[in-house]
Amino acid sequence: MINPWHKRANELIRDPLALLPLISPQPVRQFFSGDSSSLFDRFVVIVGSPGSGKTTLARLLEFSTLSSALDAHTRSEVRPLIDALNSAGVISDLKPRVLGVRLPANAQYRAIWELPYSEDIRHKLLRSLLQARAVLGWLRQLEGERVALNQIELITTGTGDAERTAIHADSLDQFRMLARETELRIFKLLSALVPPGEAELAGYTSSVTYDPLSALSAIVIKDFQGTGESIELRPMLMIDDAHELHASQFQDLDLWLRNREVQIARWVLTRVDSISPSEFRRTQLVDDIETPLPGTSHGRDRLIRTLLGRDQNRQAFRLVAADIGKRYLAQLTVFANKGVASLADALSEAQPSLTSTDIKNLRDQVGALSTETAVSQSSLEALDQVLPENAPEDLRLAVTRIFLNREALRTPQRSLFSGPSADEQEESSPKKVGATLVNGAALQLLHEFDRPFYFGFTRLADASNQNIEQFISLAGVLVDELETLIVRSKPPRLDARRQHKLLTARATKIMDEWDFPYAPRVRRLVDFISEQCVEITRRPNAPLGDGANAFGVPQDDLKLLDQDTDLAQVIHYALAYQAIVMVEEYSCKKRQWCLFELGGIPSIAAGLTFSRGGFVEGRMSQLKQQIDR
């Protein structure tokens, strides 16, 4: 079987029963939180970077997956998922409520754009092909669950008989036949060596105007599963990977599916690439936005949902990561046989230690500094008291060094010939040393002595940018190493040094493999931000505690993005592929800032903190200069 840690591609798993154990209920619950009904009564665009879980979500909502989940509702690994789907209103009373079909926007749909017809005709062909395949997909899904055609009743919108007649809603056989014919005719157009001229398309008129979506409102299944009961399903069309379409096709889809007369649920799942930089930026600020296009109402006719996520509360993703870790480990017999169920248990959190030479070196530095700053022994002892109890000596020394450097900056210059004045002898004695400063000290030790920093499950989860694929990609190298330990009959536990080495190597490799649009310029941007952040992180007095991982520009500087489309594009792709995360309207020092925060992968590669908020102040023009370099 496919090792899910090596290749997470849920679309490759055909059997829903094999897919279900790999789906964590946490992200599903998170996605449907709030008023989930709006996700089914209007057009929804779901935006996410690669690996954010778009396809998994669409696969989950397909009728066959829902039915399999319901069949297996007693299984412990599926029950939490059933609860999540129940809360979302996708199922109720252990019966599905939506009839979802996922249509990947493959090359065939894009090929319609290449046909030698007017734009209008090409868009109509795309709409017809999508609808024909949606209809065939719904019927296939139902038949896959042993629903006979004569059990199915189509409910139409009731705007008139003509639409009902046009799609043969009263005869399921004819209804399906029409969809098949439409698909076949358009397929023939696409596969023709020389497509017929536009004038000769008369024979295809019915295909061009095929429009069951606006006519259908529900599908009723009589005698569902032999219970004698009828269930009403809301048809649902999910167009996956819509970024594969031509920009004009995407725009037409957007216009078409916004139509509020359409009563079926319709989702378009896409990477960030296909929405405009300004739209994407707005999704970062507010979850629900709408941009009325000419011809669409100013009402709430479209919802954009992002799967990128940048919750202040990282705890939620840590839980998701832990859950996914458990589910994926359970798929590997080597781990199952050894009883290793949780990744967190296998990743040691024990603090590493420097070599005795390095510790001596550090001790000497602290000694010299304490003499120079004339900090009393009692103050140093007081500091030692407030350090975390389990902090090893090297970390204690590093924190002390930061404290002494701060003290050195605080103490004014004095004459060569006079002793310290009475007021100078007052030393700041910290009441408590926070985790931020301890992390800052650990990061300084990383840069200075190569002391491991990236270890333990929490940091692994935090490095993943709340992206499941990124988590799996990072964790995969650790899992491989753990598997080796199990195979070699060693305890399945990785020490801090090994974890750190594997994760940094993986992060560097991922960055080396960046091949998305504008990747070389994005890399320059990331390198520049990294350099600035490393410099401030390594400053002896650690002014930001655990340093910075972001470059902040005044919010007003963002106007430059509207004027400079080239700069906007580079930043757009950096955001789309999570090289950086943009945090707008961040308040600090009584000003509004926009932070360009490094993603988890570049942060690991550069040796920076995952904590948020620490940033280097700068201007947008500096970023532009780097990108144009």
């Binding site: 491989d480 190493e481 598997e483 080796t484 070699r488 009959s489 060693k490």
Partner: protein, 373 residues
């Protein structure tokens, strides 16, 4: 043996660090599943991992990592799907040579053959009067026929190089019938004017074509076929020697020898074609690894050559010193380095025959030629 257990033992034998083991286990697992376990020389219950363990154990601990480098960095394992891919490439290659031949006959540029009606007609006749002969059981002539369904008639394919009189009569009769059925070819002489002798692999060209000085006649599969059948073919017929896979030495040798045989049979034309030629750089003599080269020569039992005298005096680097690191899924060629395929012969109980070294192979070769002892 369970793969996990085998991997553990291999890791221990090679004294891999955990880091190296993770990388190597990953590679081994992939290759074992995709290729090595499908080697047809293995018996039931004893597939790659067990063989590898035994193979590694025979080396001194200090030499094991060097021996493993042969597997990891040099080995070329041609699986069934890759060989079938080469078979698939062969039909179009042969057709291309036929087009060139027709172009020469009609004094046209080759690209005009598909445009010119007379050339098209001549090409069709040539294709009709073509015989495809599998010269060994490795020729996969059944696969070749299926890949070329529609363009090659079943009656044009013969699986054996030694064709009986009765079979020739039948082939000629059926050819005459096919020609008569087409008005434009009705007057053509019912004799084959293109014979394609197909084989899977040649490492040294020895079994394909060579001149036996003692007997003063051409030998090898191709040589024998020409000697036996040259009079049965049409005047100026072309013999095409086609291999799916060849070493660079074999390619050069075959091309030289068909030039020589052509002088002796002026009524015939000869050409050679290859779906893929392994580059010269793959030969172990060219590997920039003196340690490994030394091991290949050192870890060799001279008794192997004695037991297989047809191979020559020293086959440590393979027959004819070919030095190939090659394994084919159905067998390992004797042109490959001996450490891959050779096993020390069984000794009698006599103490004087006590071996100084006893070797066992990683990919045991099924011998075709057995010396009568």
């Amino acid at each position: 043996m369970k793969p996990a257990q085998a991997r553990k033992l291999i890791g221990d034998l090679l004294q891999w660090s955990d880091e190296a083991a993770t990388q190597e286990f990953h590679w081994l697992d992939l290759m074992v599943r995709y290729k090595f376990d499908h080697y047809q020389g293995y018996g039931p219950g004893r597939r790659f991992y067990v063989t590898l363990l035994r193979w590694l154990t025979q080396f001194d601990p200090a030499d094991r990592a060097t021996a493993y480098r042969l597997l990891r960095d040099h080995l070329i394992f041609v699986g069934q799907s890759e060989m079938h891919h080469l078979v698939g490439l062969s039909g179009p290659l042969i057709q291309r040579d036929m087009r060139r031949h027709v172009a020469r006959l009609l004094k046209l540029p080759a690209y005009m053959v598909d445009e010119d009606p007379a050339a098209q007609c001549r090409l069709a006749l040539l294709q009709e009067r073509t015989l495809y002969v599998g010269v060994s059981d490795g020729a996969r002539i059944d696969v070749f026929r299926r890949y070329n369904e529609g363009s090659i008639n079943n009656e044009q394919v013969v699986p054996m190089a030694e064709i009986s009189e009765a079979k020739w009569d039948s082939l000629h009769k059926k050819l005459a019938g096919r020609l008569k059925a087409k008005q434009e070819h009705a007057d053509a002489e019912p004799k084959f004017e293109w014979v394609c002798l197909i084989d899977d692999f040649t490492g040294s060209a020895r079994s394909s074509i060579w001149f036996d000085k003692d007997e003063a006649k051409w030998d090898g599969k191709v040589g024998k076929f020409v000697v036996a059948n040259h009079e049965r073919l049409a005047s100026k017929a072309c013999i095409q020697v086609h291999h799916y896979l060849a070493s660079s030495i074999a390619k050069t040798t075959i091309e030289g020898r068909i030039a020589d045989i052509a002088k002796q049979y002026p009524a015939l034309e000869f050409c050679a074609s290859f779906a893929y030629v392994l580059p010269e750089a793959i030969r172990m003599q060219n590997a920039a690894d003196p340690e490994l080269l030394d091991l290949l020569k050192r870890h060799y039992d001279p008794e192997i050559a004695k037991a297989n005298s047809h191979l020559g005096e020293d086959v440590a680097m393979g027959y004819n010193q070919s030095g190939l690191p090659l394994v084919l899924e159905h067998n390992t060629p004797n042109n490959s380095v001996a450490v891959l395929w050779a096993r020390s012969p069984e000794r009698s109980g006599d103490c004087s025959e006590k071996a100084t070294i006893e070797v066992s192979p990683l990919f045991p070769r099924r011998q075709r030629h057995m010396d009568v002892r």
